[in-house]
């Protein structure tokens, strides 16, 4: 394969990379949203446990 053919193939791979990077960016944004949502839920559950422990107490045996 001549160097021009190699160059041509390299350019085509770079152009295809554009689509892959776009997909990666969309995946990162979705993952960010999921992480943020998990953090919110976790904080709420932790706080709920704290509040429940502060309000309630173990039943007498």
């Amino acid at each position: 394969m001549s160097w021009i053919s190699d160059t041509f193939a390299g350019i085509k791979r770079n152009i295809q990379l554009d689509g892959d990077v776009r997909r990666l960016q969309q995946a990162v944004e979705k993952m960010d949203a999921l992480t943020r949502d998990h953090e919110k839920r976790l904080t709420r559950v932790e706080t709920l446990i704290d509040v429940a422990q502060a309000v309630g107490r173990l039943p007498a045996r």
């Binding site: 944004e29 953090e39 446990i49 107490r57």
Partner: protein, 152 residues
């Protein structure tokens, strides 16, 4: 040993350009032409036009790749800052206020943790009956038979 000659007709401007390029390389015109000819075969010359035609698309793709990578990095950094904000005492307090107002959720968590609200606890520390079965049962024995049967 170079003993053969190829005579090539070129225009005045082509000759000037070839001589200029050769001078830039510090080579003679003959040496430059030999090197240039050796560098490319017929397939290369045909393929060069394909490469040239793809260059605008490549440049546009590289700009998009760069923009998308920067956008992804910036989005991730903003997300990280937002998560850090969610870990501050101020945000926790905000959530706490919201949780305290959600009595149903607090009661569900109290029940889930096996805890009891203070208003369900009587003065002697025993749990009062409520809609939930959470009183402390006494063990069954002769003094406390099942179904309250004390006929014996």
């Amino acid at each position: 040993m170079r003993t053969h000659r190829i005579e090539v007709l070129v225009s005045k401007s082509e000759k000037e350009r070839i001589e200029r390029e050769a001078a830039l390389l510090g080579a003679s015109t003959s040496e430059y032409v030999r090197k240039a000819a050796a560098l490319l075969d017929a397939e290369d010359i045909v393929g060069m036009e394909d490469v040239r035609s793809l260059l605008p698309e490549l440049n546009a793709a590289l700009i998009r790749i760069h923009d998308n990578l920067v956008a992804a990095a910036e989005h991730s950094e903003r997300n990280q800052l937002e998560i850090e904000r969610m870990r501050t005492p101020e945000y926790r307090e905000e959530v706490r206020r919201s949780v305290v107002e959600d009595e149903a959720a607090v009661n569900a968590m109290i029940s889930l943790l096996g805890l009891t609200r203070p208003e369900q606890v009587s003065a002697n520390g025993k749990v009062r009956s409520s809609s939930h079965v959470n009183e402390t049962p006494a063990p069954w024995n002769d003094d406390n038979p099942p179904n309250g049967d004390k006929s014996e």
